[in-house]
């Protein structure tokens, strides 16, 4: 069944889009990520212009992360204080990112920067997660308890001033790395048109030693707020949010996220991280392939303005 999208200006198959929402929603609920890094390329693949895809995906991510956040809230598996702290720096990062996004688009180098950021971040983060979770897996096999909170695992990050205590996460860290992470997530998210959850989760785990129990819920709260505000900003400035597309994606995403959350909670932390690592790494490789291999078409079009 075809339905015409009023802002994207083209018809799409409603069941195809719904299915994409379901699949990405499942993954987002399972790993506590927004799933923008999967959804945006999928929408572009079915012919929706990148600008509309990025803007509409923001609202889809907001919906599925809200469902996820409510679930984690009920299970008391999120750290509101930490989320708010990250958010305060994230807003600054987003503003800087949006500014750079516009500049790069004018210079026709946005695709390149997005491609390079995807390759660098995704393969680095994915590789690190695969390595770390495989090591944990090995340790479990040898009969040692798999834990990330090893004695003496404090790094130089823990020596910084302005220490804050986050009770729910049971961590005592300096505000500086928390702000830095928030800023990076906001900045990278705006440039790459993604929520940044897949970056945030490992950063919180590896740098701040946030326990797996609260990390996903906390990341979802942050994703929810950044993506809801991104929706409003995109709609107010570029008029590119397609409400009909967003609605179909949301319905699929919310249902998918429900099943994702349950599947995710049945799995062990290391196993979950290994899967996410593999997924992230695969998407990174896909982007690397696109940059290195000669494209089928060297030419591309971009709308400058209607006249």
């Amino acid at each position: 069944m075809q339905i015409y999208l009023p802002i994207a200006d083209l018809p799409v198959n409603i069941f195809l889009v719904l299915g994409m929402g379901l699949a990405v929603g499942f993954i987002s609920g399972m790993f506590g990520i927004g799933g923008g890094f999967l959804m945006t390329p999928l929408l572009i693949f079915i012919g929706i212009s990148p600008a509309v895809a990025v803007a509409s995906v923001a609202s889809h991510i907001a919906a599925s992360s809200f469902t996820g956040a409510i679930n984690y809230w009920r299970k008391r598996a999120l750290d509101m204080a930490l989320a708010m702290m990250l958010l305060s720096a994230g807003i600054v990062g987003t503003a800087v990112g949006v500014w750079l996004f516009t500049k790069l688009r004018e210079l026709d180098q946005l695709d390149l920067v997005i491609g390079l950021s995807y390759v660098t971040l995704l393969s680095a983060v994915g590789g690190m997660m695969i390595y770390e979770s495989l090591r944990a897996e090995m340790r479990t096999r040898q009969g040692q308890p798999a834990t990330l909170r090893r004695a003496g695992s404090h790094t130089w990050l823990h020596g910084l001033p302005f220490k804050l205590r986050f009770k729910r996460s049971k961590i005592y860290v300096s505000a500086i790395p928390v702000w830095a992470i928030g800023f990076i997530i906001g900045f990278v998210g705006a440039i790459m048109g993604i929520g940044g959850g897949f970056l945030l989760v490992p950063m919180l785990i590896y740098f701040l030693r946030v326990p797996t129990a609260t990390v996903i819920g906390t990341s979802m709260v942050l994703t929810l707020i950044t993506m809801a505000s991104a929706t409003v900003m995109h709609a107010a400035t570029n008029h590119l949010v397609d409400g009909v597309l967003a609605l179909i994606l949301m319905v699929g995403g919310v249902i998918g996220a429900q099943f994702g959350v349950r599947t995710g909670q049945k799995m062990r932390g290391e196993r979950l991280r290994l899967l996410l690592g593999l997924l992230v790494f695969a998407v990174g490789l896909r982007f690397a392939y696109e940059l290195v291999v000669k494209p089928d078409d060297l030419f591309s079009l971009r709308h400058v303005r209607n006249s």
Binding site: S64, S229, T237, G243, F299, L301
Partner: protein
């Protein structure tokens, strides 16, 4: 409002049928002047009917040729070319096509190259190769030679999207003087006013011409959403964000098990 007025003016021009000095008159009619984009819009084919009225008392010319050129609302696009730099493919060079038609269809009863000689086609801008597509080159705006790589790529990319096309079989003469032309309106066309230019040829020379127009508009929910998004961006964004929150909350309530 201005758009509507311009549209009316174009329709009015149709009725008159602007004929040059030659004696033949061209009368055309479109199956539908308005293409409504609804939620189930997947493209549409319009039909242009017409007849050639010969001058009274003069015998018919042996055979006529007809070229219909449909141009959509103008827009400016940039064509970019990737080159290899440090092992990766990067957009290095680009050209801006100024006020190019967003839709361009050149429909005729046989390939335009057979209808008239190259000079005539060039002068009348008939065919994708001969249509003026000005590029911004430094401070100047000018069309380039037809085999300019950026021009070729631009036409090819638009053609792949179904927005630019040239067909030598889209016009059919039902009798020596009555013809019909099928105008394809694909689903991805932008809204706005489309100008239709009809030219009649005989023995390689243009002998009559007329114009018409059609309008592509959004209707119903499509129009409502599109208008809201453009005119009340902030409010629209807030509504979409609230819709996201509502659906998110609703999902968690519906699927709650504990």
């Amino acid at each position: 409002m201005m758009r509507r007025l311009a549209f009316m003016a174009l329709i009015a021009a149709t009725a008159g049928g602007i004929a040059p000095a030659a004696a033949e008159r061209l009368v055309v009619s479109l199956s539908n002047h308005r293409v409504a984009v609804t939620s189930s819009f997947v493209g549409e084919d319009l039909v242009l009917f017409g007849t050639v009225e010969p001058e009274a008392g003069k015998p018919l010319q042996r055979s006529y040729d007809l070229v219909v050129t449909v141009t959509g609302p103008r827009e400016t696009l940039r064509t970019r070319r990737k080159e290899r730099m440090l092992g990766i493919w990067v957009n290095i060079d680009s050209r801006e096509f100024v006020r190019a038609p967003s839709y361009l269809a050149i429909l005729s009863n046989r390939p335009v190259g057979d209808i008239a000689n190259q000079d005539t086609l060039r002068r009348l801008q008939i065919g994708l190769d001969n249509f003026l597509l000005p590029q911004r080159i430094g401070p100047d705006v000018a069309d380039t030679v037809r085999d300019d790589p950026f021009r070729v790529a631009f036409v090819r990319l638009e053609n792949q999207q179904g927005l630019y096309r040239e067909s030598g079989i889209a016009v059919t003469f039902l009798t020596p003087t009555v013809f019909r032309a099928a105008i394809p309106v694909p689903a991805n066309v932008p809204t706005g006013i489309y100008a239709i230019d009809v030219k009649l040829f005989a023995n390689g020379a243009m002998i009559a011409g007329t114009t018409s127009a059609l309008e592509v508009i959004k209707t119903g929910i499509e129009q409502y959403v599109a208008d809201a998004a453009v005119n009340n961006g902030l409010l629209y964004g807030l509504v979409v964000a609230l819709m996201a929150l509502f659906i998110g909350w609703f999902g968690s309530v519906v699927f709650r098990r504990d």
